[in-house]
């Protein structure tokens, strides 16, 4: 029997069981939506966090060895002097990073040496001035964070429970806009560090010497890791590997549930249609035709579920965004490969859920069904 004829036959059969068909299609669409949402969320976080890590400024980052994210890094502050003395180094600036409470919000604070700031990052002042001294109780705040906490230049805010005056509001168009800058020494006190910092941001006199400088830093500071700033995102890959593993686990659990659910539905459905398949066999259908009939039926449902799921996922994920702060939302990034994998997943799930019921129904013995029902 040609496949096309069998597929047409199957399609007509599905149309005659609209409730069961619709429910299974919706179930598969939900699987697709779950898969695409989880994968897109991970992709969005990867892309955005990678972007934030790569925009701390400088040409070279020095972190503690084996660290995957600058927030987790901790190196002696004296490393800045060691690096500064390497020939060809223009700037070796210690940067202390920590997550703290700003009024009622959580934000990353950056402790920098005020005099080194202009050589590290480029910024424009929206209001007021950047911090210029190591004076305690004064900070500059990023535009996005200022909007979130509803404060501006000249006002005060609570940083980790202490009152600080806002010297000014800056804008960099990078992650640090949702942050605030305080003097490095003040940051050390707040975090509770003595002579320690998170990382050293390095610039060179001649960018062609970056690799040579990196080599020398590695030789001089064996407990630290030096690399180009552009390579920073790859350092956080273990975090994303964990996130991806979690996403994979969720996908496996949801897929297994879908396979078992649809298989159960298929078994019940085929059991109810046992007489129909017995008639098919009695009128000349071979076992392989019965198997194909069930598989085509599941494949068609899989295709319908995939189309519906992809459509819903596209619309929903275009409408929602990840709230990272009260006024900052990151749009979900839709990666085309996620949609391709989602299609393969849904088709595989629908076929996997049909194989056992198909083989079982293909063994139906017409004479027994006709005699005993």
């Amino acid at each position: 029997m040609p496949a096309l004829s069998l597929i047409r036959f199957t399609a007509r059969g599905l149309g005659r069981r609209p409730v069961r068909t619709t429910l299974t299609v919706i179930g598969l669409a939900a699987l697709i939506l779950t898969y695409v949402s989880v994968q897109s969320l991970v992709s969005t976080l990867e892309i955005n966090v990678s972007g934030s890590v790569s925009s701390l400024g400088g040409e070279i980052d020095v972190w503690s060895k084996g660290t995957s994210f600058p927030l987790f890094s901790r190196v002696p502050e004296s490393y800045a002097n060691t690096v500064k003395n390497i020939p060809g180094v223009n700037l070796a600036a210690p940067v202390a990073l920590a997550q703290m409470t700003v009024d009622n919000n959580e934000a990353v604070i950056a402790g920098v040496v005020p005099s080194q700031l202009p050589r590290m990052i480029s910024y424009t002042m929206v209001a007021g001035t950047m911090i210029t001294s190591n004076q305690s109780g004064i900070l500059s705040i990023g535009k996005a964070l200022a909007a979130t906490v509803g404060k501006g230049a000249g006002q005060t805010l609570l940083l980790d429970g202490y009152n600080y005056s806002i010297a000014g509001v800056y804008q960099t168009n990078a992650w640090i806009d949702y942050s605030l800058i305080i003097p490095h020494s003040v940051a050390q006190q707040l975090i509770g560090w003595v002579n320690q910092t998170s990382m050293i941001v390095v610039t060179t006199q001649d960018p062609r010497n970056v690799d040579t400088v990196i080599g020398q830093i590695r030789t001089l500071l064996p407990t630290a890791d030096a690399f180009r700033t552009s390579e920073a995102p790859s350092k956080i890959s273990p975090i994303f590997a964990s996130l991806e593993a979690i996403a994979t686990d969720i996908t496996i659990i949801v897929s297994l549930s879908a396979v078992l659910g649809i298989m159960n539905s298929n078994l019940n459905n085929l059991r109810e249609r046992m007489r129909t398949f017995a008639i098919f066999k009695a009128t000349g259908a071979s076992s392989s035709q019965i198997v194909r009939l069930v598989l085509y039926e599941s494949l068609l449902i899989g295709i319908l579920g995939t189309l519906l799921g992809l459509g819903i996922s596209y619309v929903v994920l275009n409408l929602v965004s990840i709230p990272v702060a009260e006024t900052i939302n990151v749009a979900i990034i839709l990666v085309p490969s996620t949609f391709i994998y989602a299609t393969l997943l849904a088709i595989s799930v629908s076929l996997a859920a049909a194989i056992y019921p198909a083989l079982r129904i293909a063994r139906v013995r017409p004479q027994e069904v006709f005699r005993f029902g």
């Binding site: 069998l6 047409r8 007489r275 008639i279 009695a282 000349g284 035709q289 004479q367």
Partner: protein
Amino acid sequence: MDDGIILRTEGLTKSYGNGPEKTIALDNLNLQIARGKLLAVYGPSGSGKTTLLFLLGGLDKPTSGKIYFDGVEVTNMNERRLSELRRKDIGFVFQNYNLVDELTVLENVMLTMTFEGKPDREKRDRARQLLHRVGVAGKERRRPSQLSAGEQQRVATARAIANGPRLVLMDEPTGNLDQENSQQLVQLVADIIEGEGATCVIATHNLDIVNEAPSKIFLKSGRIVSG
């Protein structure tokens, strides 16, 4: 060589269960059925008529004995060959018709042709022609449950002869029919034999059919008592 025999059985036996629970449905049946003829199998309920038809149609396996269809042994055929036999060479009309209510009347008649892989147009034309022939024209799009018992019987008959089988097996075809429909069916069977050149084996209680049949066997407790 054509010896004029389409079906032959040798020591055909079918039993169910074991030991003291053992029930013998057919006991050492030796039978020859002539090509292009009508054979009526009659006898009381439980005499083995349906079992015999299921065995002849390749739907069941005998406990012992052999069946030859056109000289070829059926009893040692594998599942794939048996499916092919049922699809191409044997048409079956079941006692309660066994039409698929998920399908329309037309699709029911097209069923064996669909499994045979015939092109859509060909099977549609053939199905329409058969429905016209059995007197159910104009009801192609209805579901079997929307037809009377007599009409369902005729649709089942149309389905059985759709692929032009050489053997048509009918199990109590008039069991649920009134006198008028029974007579129409007898006429239809005569037409099938004449028009399609098929051999017909009918298991029946209907004495009109038995009297019309050129050959007949009377079964009792799984044995041929007369014929």
